[in-house]
């Protein structure tokens, strides 16, 4: 079996285990909903039960041991970790097969991008009870991988000369890493914007997660843009030329800068800041997909 074939198989394996995790997250969601309905119908007797009915993610449950919904979600999360390992192995095998950093075309961006998203999610999961967001994050990853194997698939091949530079590994690698964190931050911000104020503790936790992820990803993204500028200087003779890809990288950067500033402005934290996180992510996503497909410019050699 060749490394290229191995990588393709690992991507499929990743998708299978993530699909399973996705189903379990869905089951967990259903269990939670039915349980909450059940509690709400009964007369509320104790304050502990009342707060558990309110569904704060940080609540201590009055039952013995974690409820079934939590247990199911934990099993799903373990599967996500396995999916992350498989996905990372797929990327590694692809890199060995191609004998270069495995992010030279859209298919490769997609599989490395999903690794980054999974990585950011697992990192968040290790510190915060994020598994209720699992269904959204894993759903996104499945869509990414699904379009990778169907629409974007490209066999292993050498790079075109313009891309054949060690800056590819640095510039694109940094962009993908920050992209993973931005993605999970966008999910937490979006969930935060759905009926805010109902679960203050949940909102607070979500905000901490998005803030932490963006604080990590923003310097990495800044580095990706600077590395891109250095590469552009070496390849095209100017470090900044307002090429559509550069412009949208700039827009992304400015939106996230606005997010960080909003975080330290009285009255702008919470909902308003979350909108900036969403706006930044839309700009990021448009740069990654839209610019290649509809706008063109110097960066469009990557193909779709």
């Amino acid at each position: 079996m060749t490394w290229a074939r191995l990588s393709d198989d690992l991507v499929v394996a990743t998708m299978m285990i993530l699909a399973l995790a996705f189903c379990l997250y869905a089951v967990s969601m259903a269990q939670r909903t039915t349980r909450q309905r059940g509690v709400a119908k009964e007369p509320v007797t104790t304050p502990a039960a009342a707060s558990s009915a309110a569904g704060g993610a940080l609540e201590h449950e009055p039952e013995v041991g974690p409820p079934w919904s939590e247990r199911t979600a934990r099993i799903a999360s373990v599967m996500v970790v396995m999916g992350l390992v498989l996905n990372a192995a797929a990327v590694l095998a692809r890199g060995i097969a191609a004998e270069r950093a495995p992010w030279g075309n859209m298919y490769e961006f997609a599989i490395v991008g999903s690794t980054a998203i999974l990585g950011a999610y697992v990192a968040g999961l290790s510190r915060y009870p994020l598994h209720r967001l699992g269904i959204w994050v894993i759903g996104l990853v499945l869509v990414t991988l699904g379009s990778a194997v169907t629409v974007l698939y490209t066999p292993v091949d050498a790079l075109i000369p313009v891309l054949d530079s060690y800056w590819l590994a640095i510039h694109v690698g940094a962009a993908i890493v920050s992209g993973g964190a931005f993605t999970v931050a966008a999910v937490t911000s979006a969930v935060q914007l759905v009926r805010p104020g109902r679960h203050p503790e949940r909102d607070e936790m979500l905000e901490r997660v998005s803030y932490g992820l963006i604080v990590f990803a923003f310097p990495v993204w800044t580095f990706a843009v600077i590395a891109g500028a250095v590469w552009a200087e070496a390849a095209w003779g100017r470090y900044w030329g307002w090429d559509p890809k550069e412009t949208w990288a700039f827009i992304t950067w400015v939106f996230y800068a606005a997010y960080l500033h909003a975080q330290s402005t009285a009255g702008w934290r919470g909902k308003r800041a979350a909108w900036f996180s969403i706006a930044g992510y839309i700009a990021f996503l448009f740069n990654f997909i839209g610019v290649n497909m509809w706008v063109g410019g110097l960066h469009s050699y990557a193909g779709v």
């Binding site: 066999p155 000369p161 310097p219 070496a234 003779g237 949208w248 827009i251 800068a257 975080q263 009285a266």
Partner: protein, 521 residues
């Protein structure tokens, strides 16, 4: 949160002017508003939105394709002038874009400079005194130590100093603070943006960018007239371009021959010889990602294509043109178009429009099948009449003014073929095929400044986000034979206080117990 208090401009100074001058209050209010964090957030959002139209509309001076704006004008004749009036073809040089970023920079500077002063004061002042109720602060812990107050506080001072805190020992308490470098990083980040603007501006004011296409064997001399296209800046001294000349000795291009991506470029290198002002002649290879740097002026290989070699004879049998003609590729398989002009031909001027296919299909089709040179074919249309080149208006070398011309012949030619024009007007022979290389030539004296700014920016940003500024207090109260020690801290950032320092402090202070137990034996 405290971070807000830190980040918000110092608002606590009460506005109590000693005398009231009309207009002063308004000015103060305007300045306060401009430099507030809220304004900064709004301006940032505006900046992001303002950058968007430039990515959808063709732009002058920044676009890869210089013909994009004229093309857009042709396709949208009514809309284009209106967009142009709104500077939408020069978004990044437009007054409204400049207004947003200049306001943002003023707002930022107005916010950052007072904070520099504040940081300077904070670094000279002693760390803040402990709040009365330490139990309300983060990581509060209480322990009792069999020792005296003095030695507990001395020991705490020692430990905290070793951990890099600025420490002051006051009667009954130790005050410590750490992480001032966070604010240093924050200020460095913001100020480096100003430096970046200086770097970009000096490139824009003093540098230039140009393009030149060279066929095999052609020589380029670095004067403005040699450029196919030259965009100068406000202060470029065109007569002071670095003197040098470059000869293209050869171009080597390879393409993937098989697989799903057959025809994709795999390699292209140009071999050149360049001559500098001091008479030194050197040879070099220019590849994508590997430019040639001649005293700060850089040559980048940005594209390549084919230049069919033709010989044109006029009606009298004189050779009126001979050599390679650059044909510009119009698609990925290098189907290229170009023109040959012979204004000196007698009795009538001659012009040829052509399509060149490096690998012609076996049928009559007019699209190349592969980018490599396998079965070249040149499809020519010949014209006689007046080329209009003496009318004064400059003409493109890639197009013929057909107004005064008459089509007289057409032919698909292979290498070696000739096309005889009717009425003895002349002939053209397809002698062979050369390659040409496209060079981007750039001089940007501001780029080192920008690079330094980018490094400062990166270092400052990372520091300001990674370092946590925090305070730690230790209070010791005598209670009988033991000392009750209270430890607590405060995070001055949004992130939690790292517990490690407090834990260590607690452990080391408790070890005073053991050493006491051991010593008095």
């Amino acid at each position: 949160m405290v971070d807000e208090a830190l980040k918000e401009r110092d608002q606590s100074k009460s506005p109590t002017p000693t005398r009231t001058v009309y207009g002063w209050g308004w000015g103060r209010w305007a300045w306060r508003t401009l430099t507030s964090m809220r304004t900064a957030v709004i301006l940032l959002a505006l900046l992001a939105l303002a950058a968007i139209p430039g990515s959808f509309l063709p732009q002058r001076n920044v676009a890869t394709d210089p013909a994009a704006v004229p093309l857009f004008y042709r396709d949208h004749p009514t809309m284009a002038p209106w967009l142009d009036r709104l500077f939408l073809f020069d978004v990044y040089a437009s007054p409204w874009f400049a207004a947003v970023y200049l306001l943002l920079l003023v707002s930022m500077t107005g916010c950052v400079l007072p904070r520099c002063a504040k940081l300077w004061q904070e670094c000279r002042a002693e760390p803040t005194r402990a709040p009365t109720r330490l139990s309300r602060m983060d990581g509060h812990r209480e322990l009792s130590v069999q020792s005296d107050r003095g030695s507990v506080l001395r020991r705490a001072t020692e430990i905290l100093s070793r951990r890099g805190y600025r420490v002051v020992q006051a009667p009954g308490e130790v005050r410590a603070e750490k992480g001032y470098v966070r604010e240093v990083g924050n200020l460095m980040f913001h100020l480096s943006l100003l430096l970046l603007l200086v770097g970009m501006a000096s490139g824009k004011l003093l540098g230039f960018e140009g393009r030149a296409a060279l066929a095999d064997g052609d020589t380029f001399t670095n004067v403005e007239s040699s450029y196919d296209e030259f965009s100068r800046s406000a202060l470029t001294r065109v007569d002071e371009l670095t003197p040098f000349s470059v000869t293209l000795d050869g171009l080597d291009a390879e393409f993937a021959l098989s697989g799903s991506r057959a025809g994709e470029p795999r390699k292209f290198d140009a071999t050149v010889t360049y001559l500098q002002a001091d008479g030194t002649e050197k040879s070099a290879s220019i590849k994508p990602n590997q430019p040639l740097d001649i005293e700060g002026t850089k040559l980048f290989l940005t594209g390549h294509g084919y230049a069919p070699r033709v010989t044109v004879r006029d009606g009298t049998g004189e050779v009126v043109f001979a050599g390679p003609v650059i044909f510009l590729p119009i698609e990925n398989n290098f189907t290229s178009d170009g023109v040959v002009k012979a204004p000196n031909a007698q009795p009538t001027q001659l012009g040829f429009e052509g399509l060149f296919l490096p690998t012609a299909p076996t049928n009559e089709g007019d699209r190349s099948q592969f980018p490599g040179l396998i079965a070249p074919r040149l499809d020519l249309t010949a014209y006689t009449g007046d080329l209009g080149m003496d009318r004064g208006a400059p003409q493109s070398v890639y197009a013929i003014e057909l107004d005064g011309m008459e089509e007289v012949a057409q032919k698909q030619m292979r290498v070696g073929d000739s096309l005889e024009l009717p009425d003895g007007a002349g002939s053209i022979t397809f002698d062979g095929v050369s390659r040409f290389a496209n060079f981007q030539i750039a001089y940007d004296p501001g780029k080192e400044i920008s690079l330094v700014a980018a490094i400062f920016l990166m270092v400052g940003l990372t520091t300001s986000l990674v370092v946590r500024r925090r305070r730690v207090w230790v209070r010791a109260v005598d209670s009988g034979s033991t000392v009750t020690v209270e430890i607590a801290g405060q995070s001055l950032t949004r992130r939690d206080l790292p517990p490690a320092d407090l834990v260590r402090l607690e452990r080391e202070l408790l070890s005073l117990n053991k050493s006491l137990e051991r010593t008095p034996s």
